[in-house]
Symmetry: C2
Subunit: 242 residues, 2 copies
Protein backbone atom coordinates (compact mmCIF):
# COMPACT_ATOMS: atom_id res chain seq x y z
CA UNK A 1 0.00 0.00 0.00
CA UNK A 2 0.99 3.60 -0.55
CA UNK A 3 2.15 5.44 2.53
CA UNK A 4 -0.77 7.15 4.24
CA UNK A 5 -0.42 10.94 4.19
CA UNK A 6 0.76 12.37 7.49
CA UNK A 7 -1.64 14.97 8.85
CA UNK A 8 -0.54 17.36 11.55
CA UNK A 9 -2.37 19.91 13.64
CA UNK A 10 -0.38 23.10 13.99
CA UNK A 11 -1.55 26.20 15.80
CA UNK A 12 -0.24 28.74 13.27
CA UNK A 13 -1.88 30.71 10.50
CA UNK A 14 -1.88 28.64 7.30
CA UNK A 15 -1.72 30.44 3.96
CA UNK A 16 -0.11 30.09 0.54
CA UNK A 17 3.70 30.23 0.55
CA UNK A 18 3.92 30.50 4.34
CA UNK A 19 6.92 28.88 6.00
CA UNK A 20 6.39 27.64 9.55
CA UNK A 21 8.85 26.05 11.96
CA UNK A 22 7.65 22.78 13.49
CA UNK A 23 7.78 22.69 17.26
CA UNK A 24 10.41 20.48 18.87
CA UNK A 25 8.13 17.53 19.45
CA UNK A 26 6.72 17.46 15.92
CA UNK A 27 10.22 17.89 14.47
CA UNK A 28 11.45 14.94 16.52
CA UNK A 29 8.47 12.82 15.47
CA UNK A 30 8.92 13.64 11.79
CA UNK A 31 12.68 13.14 11.71
CA UNK A 32 13.25 10.29 14.10
CA UNK A 33 9.97 8.40 14.54
CA UNK A 34 8.35 8.72 11.10
CA UNK A 35 11.77 9.06 9.42
CA UNK A 36 10.65 11.70 6.94
CA UNK A 37 13.15 13.09 4.45
CA UNK A 38 13.77 16.57 3.11
CA UNK A 39 11.10 17.36 0.50
CA UNK A 40 8.52 14.86 1.85
CA UNK A 41 4.93 16.04 1.98
CA UNK A 42 2.56 16.40 4.90
CA UNK A 43 -0.93 17.83 5.38
CA UNK A 44 -1.44 20.60 7.92
CA UNK A 45 -4.58 21.96 9.57
CA UNK A 46 -5.21 24.39 12.41
CA UNK A 47 -8.98 24.28 12.91
CA UNK A 48 -9.44 27.61 11.07
CA UNK A 49 -7.76 27.73 7.66
CA UNK A 50 -8.64 24.36 6.16
CA UNK A 51 -6.09 21.71 5.23
CA UNK A 52 -2.85 22.49 3.38
CA UNK A 53 -0.19 20.48 1.64
CA UNK A 54 3.31 21.37 2.78
CA UNK A 55 6.80 20.09 2.05
CA UNK A 56 9.37 19.50 4.75
CA UNK A 57 12.78 21.17 4.99
CA UNK A 58 15.08 19.45 7.44
CA UNK A 59 17.35 22.11 8.95
CA UNK A 60 20.45 21.32 10.98
CA UNK A 61 20.22 18.27 13.19
CA UNK A 62 16.92 18.94 14.87
CA UNK A 63 14.68 21.41 13.11
CA UNK A 64 11.93 21.05 10.53
CA UNK A 65 10.36 23.82 8.44
CA UNK A 66 6.98 23.40 6.73
CA UNK A 67 6.75 25.12 3.34
CA UNK A 68 3.11 25.49 2.46
CA UNK A 69 2.00 24.66 -1.08
CA UNK A 70 -1.76 24.75 -1.71
CA UNK A 71 -4.94 24.29 0.25
CA UNK A 72 -6.26 20.74 -0.12
CA UNK A 73 -9.58 21.27 1.70
CA UNK A 74 -11.38 24.47 2.67
CA UNK A 75 -12.34 24.94 6.30
CA UNK A 76 -15.83 23.70 7.07
CA UNK A 77 -17.82 23.85 10.28
CA UNK A 78 -17.71 20.65 12.33
CA UNK A 79 -20.67 21.23 14.62
CA UNK A 80 -20.68 17.82 16.31
CA UNK A 81 -22.28 17.22 19.69
CA UNK A 82 -20.61 18.10 22.97
CA UNK A 83 -19.80 15.19 25.25
CA UNK A 84 -20.19 15.66 28.99
CA UNK A 85 -18.76 12.69 30.84
CA UNK A 86 -18.44 12.08 34.56
CA UNK A 87 -14.76 11.74 35.45
CA UNK A 88 -13.72 8.11 35.18
CA UNK A 89 -10.37 6.38 35.51
CA UNK A 90 -7.49 7.39 33.31
CA UNK A 91 -7.48 4.52 30.78
CA UNK A 92 -11.20 4.60 29.95
CA UNK A 93 -11.17 8.43 29.87
CA UNK A 94 -8.26 8.37 27.41
CA UNK A 95 -10.26 5.93 25.30
CA UNK A 96 -13.34 8.14 25.39
CA UNK A 97 -11.39 11.22 24.29
CA UNK A 98 -9.83 9.35 21.35
CA UNK A 99 -13.11 7.75 20.24
CA UNK A 100 -15.21 10.90 20.78
CA UNK A 101 -12.80 12.71 18.48
CA UNK A 102 -13.15 10.05 15.79
CA UNK A 103 -16.92 10.20 16.23
CA UNK A 104 -17.02 13.95 15.69
CA UNK A 105 -17.60 15.46 19.14
CA UNK A 106 -16.89 19.21 19.02
CA UNK A 107 -16.18 19.58 22.75
CA UNK A 108 -15.43 17.22 25.63
CA UNK A 109 -16.36 18.32 29.15
CA UNK A 110 -15.36 16.07 32.08
CA UNK A 111 -17.77 16.68 34.94
CA UNK A 112 -17.89 15.84 38.63
CA UNK A 113 -21.13 14.34 39.94
CA UNK A 114 -22.24 13.19 43.38
CA UNK A 115 -20.85 9.70 42.83
CA UNK A 116 -17.68 10.73 41.00
CA UNK A 117 -14.59 9.93 43.02
CA UNK A 118 -11.97 11.65 40.90
CA UNK A 119 -11.64 15.43 40.71
CA UNK A 120 -8.67 15.75 38.45
CA UNK A 121 -7.79 15.00 34.87
CA UNK A 122 -4.68 15.95 32.97
CA UNK A 123 -6.34 18.29 30.48
CA UNK A 124 -3.11 18.80 28.59
CA UNK A 125 -2.59 15.08 28.07
CA UNK A 126 -6.22 14.63 27.04
CA UNK A 127 -5.89 17.54 24.58
CA UNK A 128 -2.87 15.81 23.03
CA UNK A 129 -4.90 12.60 22.64
CA UNK A 130 -7.69 14.55 20.95
CA UNK A 131 -5.20 16.30 18.65
CA UNK A 132 -3.61 13.03 17.56
CA UNK A 133 -6.99 11.40 16.96
CA UNK A 134 -8.07 14.45 14.90
CA UNK A 135 -4.88 14.17 12.83
CA UNK A 136 -5.53 10.50 12.11
CA UNK A 137 -9.24 10.58 11.42
CA UNK A 138 -9.14 13.47 8.95
CA UNK A 139 -10.98 16.15 10.92
CA UNK A 140 -10.35 19.82 10.27
CA UNK A 141 -10.87 20.75 13.93
CA UNK A 142 -9.79 19.34 17.27
CA UNK A 143 -12.52 18.99 19.90
CA UNK A 144 -12.28 21.59 22.64
CA UNK A 145 -11.02 19.78 25.74
CA UNK A 146 -12.38 21.39 28.92
CA UNK A 147 -10.95 21.18 32.43
CA UNK A 148 -13.08 19.16 34.88
CA UNK A 149 -15.93 21.09 36.51
CA UNK A 150 -18.91 20.28 38.69
CA UNK A 151 -21.86 19.07 36.62
CA UNK A 152 -24.05 21.66 38.30
CA UNK A 153 -21.78 24.54 37.28
CA UNK A 154 -21.79 23.32 33.68
CA UNK A 155 -25.60 23.32 33.84
CA UNK A 156 -25.77 26.73 35.52
CA UNK A 157 -24.20 28.38 32.47
CA UNK A 158 -25.85 26.13 29.89
CA UNK A 159 -26.71 27.64 26.49
CA UNK A 160 -30.44 26.93 26.49
CA UNK A 161 -30.68 26.34 22.74
CA UNK A 162 -28.39 23.28 23.04
CA UNK A 163 -30.30 20.08 23.84
CA UNK A 164 -28.70 17.92 26.50
CA UNK A 165 -29.33 14.20 26.06
CA UNK A 166 -29.01 12.42 29.37
CA UNK A 167 -28.23 8.71 29.09
CA UNK A 168 -30.47 7.54 31.91
CA UNK A 169 -29.49 4.14 33.30
CA UNK A 170 -32.71 3.96 35.30
CA UNK A 171 -34.53 3.33 31.99
CA UNK A 172 -36.95 6.20 32.31
CA UNK A 173 -35.84 7.72 29.00
CA UNK A 174 -37.13 7.05 25.51
CA UNK A 175 -35.07 4.86 23.13
CA UNK A 176 -31.92 6.71 22.05
CA UNK A 177 -32.56 6.54 18.30
CA UNK A 178 -36.08 7.91 18.76
CA UNK A 179 -34.87 10.77 20.97
CA UNK A 180 -31.94 11.72 18.75
CA UNK A 181 -34.15 11.61 15.65
CA UNK A 182 -36.11 14.54 17.05
CA UNK A 183 -32.91 16.56 17.65
CA UNK A 184 -32.53 19.64 15.55
CA UNK A 185 -29.74 22.13 16.17
CA UNK A 186 -26.90 21.92 18.68
CA UNK A 187 -26.76 18.89 20.97
CA UNK A 188 -24.81 17.48 23.90
CA UNK A 189 -24.62 14.00 25.40
CA UNK A 190 -24.29 13.41 29.15
CA UNK A 191 -22.84 10.18 30.56
CA UNK A 192 -22.93 9.52 34.28
CA UNK A 193 -20.36 7.84 36.53
CA UNK A 194 -20.01 4.06 37.04
CA UNK A 195 -22.19 4.27 40.14
CA UNK A 196 -24.92 6.14 38.25
CA UNK A 197 -26.43 9.53 39.00
CA UNK A 198 -27.90 10.18 42.43
CA UNK A 199 -31.70 10.43 42.45
CA UNK A 200 -31.49 14.13 43.34
CA UNK A 201 -29.27 14.70 40.31
CA UNK A 202 -31.67 12.85 38.04
CA UNK A 203 -34.58 14.90 39.40
CA UNK A 204 -32.69 18.16 38.92
CA UNK A 205 -31.62 17.17 35.41
CA UNK A 206 -34.99 16.04 34.16
CA UNK A 207 -36.58 19.26 35.43
CA UNK A 208 -34.37 21.33 33.13
CA UNK A 209 -36.14 22.38 29.92
CA UNK A 210 -33.19 21.50 27.66
CA UNK A 211 -32.66 17.99 29.08
CA UNK A 212 -34.01 14.85 27.35
CA UNK A 213 -33.56 11.45 29.04
CA UNK A 214 -32.66 8.64 26.65
CA UNK A 215 -32.25 4.90 27.04
CA UNK A 216 -29.45 2.65 25.75
CA UNK A 217 -31.09 -0.73 26.32
CA UNK A 218 -31.18 -3.22 29.15
CA UNK A 219 -27.54 -4.25 29.37
CA UNK A 220 -25.39 -2.40 31.91
CA UNK A 221 -22.88 -0.41 29.85
CA UNK A 222 -19.60 0.83 31.27
CA UNK A 223 -19.34 4.62 31.14
CA UNK A 224 -16.87 4.58 28.26
CA UNK A 225 -19.05 2.18 26.26
CA UNK A 226 -22.11 4.35 26.82
CA UNK A 227 -20.20 7.45 25.67
CA UNK A 228 -18.96 5.85 22.45
CA UNK A 229 -22.30 4.16 21.75
CA UNK A 230 -24.33 7.33 22.32
CA UNK A 231 -22.08 9.41 20.05
CA UNK A 232 -22.25 6.77 17.29
CA UNK A 233 -26.02 6.58 17.60
CA UNK A 234 -26.32 10.38 17.48
CA UNK A 235 -24.17 10.68 14.35
CA UNK A 236 -26.08 7.87 12.65
CA UNK A 237 -29.54 9.22 13.42
CA UNK A 238 -29.16 13.01 13.73
CA UNK A 239 -25.58 13.87 12.81
CA UNK A 240 -23.25 13.75 9.84
CA UNK A 241 -23.49 10.05 8.99
CA UNK A 242 -26.82 10.59 7.25
Amino acid sequence: MAAVAIRLFIDERLSADATIAADGKQAHQLRHVMRRADGDEVLLFNGRDGEWRATLSLVGKRDVIFKLAEQTRPQTAEPGPWLLIALIKRAPLDLVVEKATELGASAILPVMTERTNAERANTERLSAIAREAAEQCGRLTVPEMHAPQALMSALAKWPGERKLFLMDETHRGIPAAEGFAKAAGPAAILIGPEGGFAQTELDALTNLPFVNALDLGIRVLRAETAAIAALACYQAVAGDWR
Copy 2:
Protein backbone atom coordinates in the same frame (compact mmCIF):
# COMPACT_ATOMS: atom_id res chain seq x y z
CA MET B 1 -24.03 2.42 47.79
CA ALA B 2 -25.06 -1.19 48.28
CA ALA B 3 -22.61 -3.77 47.00
CA VAL B 4 -23.39 -4.69 43.42
CA ALA B 5 -24.48 -8.32 43.07
CA ILE B 6 -21.74 -10.58 41.76
CA ARG B 7 -22.79 -12.42 38.61
CA LEU B 8 -20.87 -15.48 37.45
CA PHE B 9 -21.05 -17.60 34.33
CA ILE B 10 -20.77 -21.27 35.13
CA ASP B 11 -21.00 -24.08 32.60
CA GLU B 12 -23.12 -26.43 34.70
CA ARG B 13 -26.82 -27.26 34.75
CA LEU B 14 -28.65 -24.80 37.03
CA SER B 15 -31.77 -25.96 38.86
CA ALA B 16 -33.50 -25.58 42.22
CA ASP B 17 -31.53 -26.98 45.17
CA ALA B 18 -28.53 -27.94 43.01
CA THR B 19 -25.11 -27.69 44.64
CA ILE B 20 -22.21 -26.97 42.32
CA ALA B 21 -18.49 -26.72 43.06
CA ALA B 22 -16.85 -23.54 41.76
CA ASP B 23 -13.80 -24.14 39.62
CA GLY B 24 -10.42 -23.22 41.10
CA LYS B 25 -10.20 -19.83 39.46
CA GLN B 26 -13.69 -18.70 40.50
CA ALA B 27 -13.12 -20.02 44.01
CA HIS B 28 -9.88 -18.03 44.26
CA GLN B 29 -11.58 -14.90 42.93
CA LEU B 30 -14.51 -15.21 45.33
CA ARG B 31 -12.42 -15.97 48.41
CA HIS B 32 -9.30 -13.92 47.91
CA VAL B 33 -10.08 -11.14 45.42
CA MET B 34 -13.71 -10.31 46.15
CA ARG B 35 -13.34 -11.50 49.78
CA ARG B 36 -16.76 -13.14 49.95
CA ALA B 37 -17.82 -14.86 53.15
CA ASP B 38 -19.71 -18.08 53.84
CA GLY B 39 -23.42 -17.48 53.17
CA ASP B 40 -22.89 -14.54 50.79
CA GLU B 41 -25.07 -14.46 47.69
CA VAL B 42 -24.15 -14.49 44.03
CA LEU B 43 -26.09 -14.74 40.78
CA LEU B 44 -25.27 -17.57 38.37
CA PHE B 45 -26.08 -18.07 34.69
CA ASN B 46 -24.98 -20.60 32.08
CA GLY B 47 -26.57 -19.32 28.86
CA ARG B 48 -29.33 -21.96 29.01
CA ASP B 49 -31.15 -22.06 32.36
CA GLY B 50 -31.70 -18.38 33.14
CA GLU B 51 -30.20 -16.62 36.15
CA TRP B 52 -30.18 -18.11 39.66
CA ARG B 53 -29.51 -16.83 43.13
CA ALA B 54 -27.05 -18.99 45.05
CA THR B 55 -25.36 -18.84 48.42
CA LEU B 56 -21.70 -19.61 48.93
CA SER B 57 -20.27 -22.32 51.15
CA LEU B 58 -16.58 -21.91 51.78
CA VAL B 59 -15.08 -25.37 52.18
CA GLY B 60 -11.60 -26.02 53.51
CA LYS B 61 -8.97 -23.47 52.55
CA ARG B 62 -9.61 -23.26 48.83
CA ASP B 63 -12.99 -24.53 47.71
CA VAL B 64 -16.34 -22.87 47.17
CA ILE B 65 -19.71 -24.56 46.73
CA PHE B 66 -22.70 -22.76 45.21
CA LYS B 67 -26.03 -23.73 46.76
CA LEU B 68 -28.78 -22.72 44.37
CA ALA B 69 -31.85 -20.99 45.77
CA GLU B 70 -34.35 -19.72 43.17
CA GLN B 71 -34.34 -18.56 39.59
CA THR B 72 -34.17 -14.75 39.39
CA ARG B 73 -34.65 -14.46 35.62
CA PRO B 74 -35.90 -17.01 33.09
CA GLN B 75 -33.70 -17.72 30.09
CA THR B 76 -34.54 -15.56 27.08
CA ALA B 77 -33.12 -15.59 23.59
CA GLU B 78 -30.40 -12.99 22.99
CA PRO B 79 -30.37 -12.93 19.21
CA GLY B 80 -27.93 -10.06 18.77
CA PRO B 81 -25.93 -9.55 15.59
CA TRP B 82 -22.77 -11.46 14.80
CA LEU B 83 -19.60 -9.39 14.56
CA LEU B 84 -17.03 -10.32 11.92
CA ILE B 85 -13.85 -8.35 12.45
CA ALA B 86 -10.57 -8.52 10.58
CA LEU B 87 -7.82 -9.55 12.99
CA ILE B 88 -6.29 -6.48 14.57
CA LYS B 89 -3.69 -6.03 17.29
CA ARG B 90 -4.23 -7.54 20.69
CA ALA B 91 -5.27 -4.46 22.70
CA PRO B 92 -7.92 -3.17 20.26
CA LEU B 93 -9.22 -6.72 19.68
CA ASP B 94 -9.58 -7.21 23.45
CA LEU B 95 -11.49 -3.93 23.55
CA VAL B 96 -13.78 -4.99 20.71
CA VAL B 97 -14.61 -8.31 22.38
CA GLU B 98 -15.47 -6.59 25.67
CA LYS B 99 -17.55 -3.85 24.05
CA ALA B 100 -19.27 -6.17 21.55
CA THR B 101 -20.39 -8.27 24.51
CA GLU B 102 -21.80 -5.21 26.29
CA LEU B 103 -23.51 -4.20 23.05
CA GLY B 104 -25.22 -7.56 22.67
CA ALA B 105 -23.33 -9.34 19.88
CA SER B 106 -24.27 -13.04 19.87
CA ALA B 107 -21.09 -14.24 18.15
CA ILE B 108 -17.66 -12.78 17.41
CA LEU B 109 -15.76 -14.08 14.38
CA PRO B 110 -12.21 -12.81 13.81
CA VAL B 111 -11.43 -13.07 10.10
CA MET B 112 -8.31 -12.86 7.95
CA THR B 113 -8.51 -10.64 4.88
CA GLU B 114 -6.03 -9.78 2.15
CA ARG B 115 -4.57 -6.90 4.16
CA THR B 116 -4.68 -8.59 7.57
CA ASN B 117 -1.20 -9.21 8.92
CA ALA B 118 -2.05 -11.31 11.96
CA GLU B 119 -3.28 -14.90 11.66
CA ARG B 120 -3.60 -15.79 15.30
CA ALA B 121 -5.67 -14.77 18.26
CA ASN B 122 -5.83 -16.37 21.67
CA THR B 123 -9.42 -17.58 21.44
CA GLU B 124 -9.36 -18.80 25.01
CA ARG B 125 -8.27 -15.40 26.37
CA LEU B 126 -10.86 -13.64 24.21
CA SER B 127 -13.56 -16.03 25.45
CA ALA B 128 -12.62 -15.17 29.03
CA ILE B 129 -12.93 -11.45 28.22
CA ALA B 130 -16.37 -12.07 26.71
CA ARG B 131 -17.43 -14.12 29.73
CA GLU B 132 -16.36 -11.42 32.19
CA ALA B 133 -18.10 -8.71 30.19
CA ALA B 134 -21.27 -10.82 30.05
CA GLU B 135 -21.11 -11.28 33.83
CA GLN B 136 -20.81 -7.53 34.38
CA CYS B 137 -23.36 -6.27 31.87
CA GLY B 138 -26.18 -8.57 32.94
CA ARG B 139 -26.48 -10.77 29.86
CA LEU B 140 -27.87 -14.29 30.12
CA THR B 141 -25.59 -15.60 27.38
CA VAL B 142 -21.93 -15.22 26.46
CA PRO B 143 -21.20 -14.42 22.81
CA GLU B 144 -19.79 -17.37 20.92
CA MET B 145 -16.10 -16.63 20.35
CA HIS B 146 -14.82 -18.21 17.13
CA ALA B 147 -11.25 -19.06 16.18
CA PRO B 148 -9.81 -16.90 13.38
CA GLN B 149 -10.66 -18.03 9.87
CA ALA B 150 -10.26 -16.67 6.35
CA LEU B 151 -13.06 -14.24 5.48
CA MET B 152 -13.74 -16.20 2.32
CA SER B 153 -14.28 -19.45 4.23
CA ALA B 154 -16.72 -17.71 6.58
CA LEU B 155 -18.59 -16.48 3.50
CA ALA B 156 -18.48 -19.88 1.77
CA LYS B 157 -20.58 -21.42 4.55
CA TRP B 158 -22.75 -18.37 5.19
CA PRO B 159 -26.36 -18.93 6.29
CA GLY B 160 -28.11 -17.05 3.50
CA GLU B 161 -30.98 -15.77 5.65
CA ARG B 162 -28.52 -13.72 7.79
CA LYS B 163 -27.86 -10.26 6.36
CA LEU B 164 -24.21 -9.23 6.37
CA PHE B 165 -23.67 -5.49 6.78
CA LEU B 166 -20.32 -4.49 5.34
CA MET B 167 -18.91 -1.24 6.75
CA ASP B 168 -17.51 0.10 3.49
CA GLU B 169 -14.78 2.70 4.01
CA THR B 170 -14.84 3.59 0.32
CA HIS B 171 -18.18 5.33 0.97
CA ARG B 172 -20.18 3.40 -1.59
CA GLY B 173 -22.66 2.18 1.01
CA ILE B 174 -25.88 3.82 2.20
CA PRO B 175 -25.93 5.56 5.61
CA ALA B 176 -25.72 2.99 8.40
CA ALA B 177 -28.95 3.99 10.17
CA GLU B 178 -30.89 3.80 6.92
CA GLY B 179 -29.46 0.38 6.06
CA PHE B 180 -29.97 -1.09 9.52
CA ALA B 181 -33.52 0.25 9.67
CA LYS B 182 -34.42 -2.07 6.79
CA ALA B 183 -32.93 -5.08 8.59
CA ALA B 184 -35.39 -7.74 9.64
CA GLY B 185 -34.23 -11.06 11.03
CA PRO B 186 -30.69 -12.23 11.77
CA ALA B 187 -27.84 -9.85 11.03
CA ALA B 188 -24.05 -9.65 11.04
CA ILE B 189 -21.64 -6.73 10.89
CA LEU B 190 -18.34 -6.92 9.00
CA ILE B 191 -15.41 -4.63 9.84
CA GLY B 192 -12.31 -4.61 7.65
CA PRO B 193 -8.65 -4.29 8.60
CA GLU B 194 -6.82 -0.98 9.22
CA GLY B 195 -5.61 -0.97 5.60
CA GLY B 196 -9.15 -1.48 4.29
CA PHE B 197 -10.48 -4.26 2.10
CA ALA B 198 -8.76 -4.95 -1.23
CA GLN B 199 -10.83 -3.94 -4.26
CA THR B 200 -11.24 -7.60 -5.24
CA GLU B 201 -12.64 -8.37 -1.79
CA LEU B 202 -15.08 -5.47 -2.00
CA ASP B 203 -16.22 -6.63 -5.44
CA ALA B 204 -16.68 -10.22 -4.24
CA LEU B 205 -18.53 -9.05 -1.12
CA THR B 206 -20.92 -6.69 -2.82
CA ASN B 207 -21.83 -9.39 -5.36
CA LEU B 208 -23.13 -11.66 -2.60
CA PRO B 209 -26.92 -11.53 -2.25
CA PHE B 210 -26.85 -11.27 1.57
CA VAL B 211 -24.31 -8.40 1.72
CA ASN B 212 -25.34 -4.77 2.22
CA ALA B 213 -22.67 -2.05 2.14
CA LEU B 214 -23.14 0.67 4.75
CA ASP B 215 -21.40 3.96 5.46
CA LEU B 216 -20.18 5.34 8.81
CA GLY B 217 -19.50 8.93 7.77
CA ILE B 218 -16.51 10.78 6.40
CA ARG B 219 -14.08 10.52 9.30
CA VAL B 220 -11.56 7.67 9.16
CA LEU B 221 -12.50 5.33 12.01
CA ARG B 222 -10.08 2.87 13.53
CA ALA B 223 -11.27 -0.73 13.16
CA GLU B 224 -12.21 -1.01 16.83
CA THR B 225 -14.13 2.28 16.73
CA ALA B 226 -16.04 1.17 13.63
CA ALA B 227 -16.94 -2.15 15.28
CA ILE B 228 -18.29 -0.53 18.45
CA ALA B 229 -20.04 2.26 16.55
CA ALA B 230 -21.71 -0.11 14.08
CA LEU B 231 -22.99 -2.40 16.85
CA ALA B 232 -24.37 0.57 18.81
CA CYS B 233 -26.05 1.92 15.71
CA TYR B 234 -27.55 -1.49 14.91
CA GLN B 235 -28.97 -1.95 18.41
CA ALA B 236 -30.39 1.58 18.41
CA VAL B 237 -32.06 1.32 15.01
CA ALA B 238 -32.85 -2.37 14.48
CA GLY B 239 -31.96 -4.18 17.70
CA ASP B 240 -33.01 -4.37 21.32
CA TRP B 241 -32.60 -0.70 22.27
CA ARG B 242 -35.90 0.18 20.61
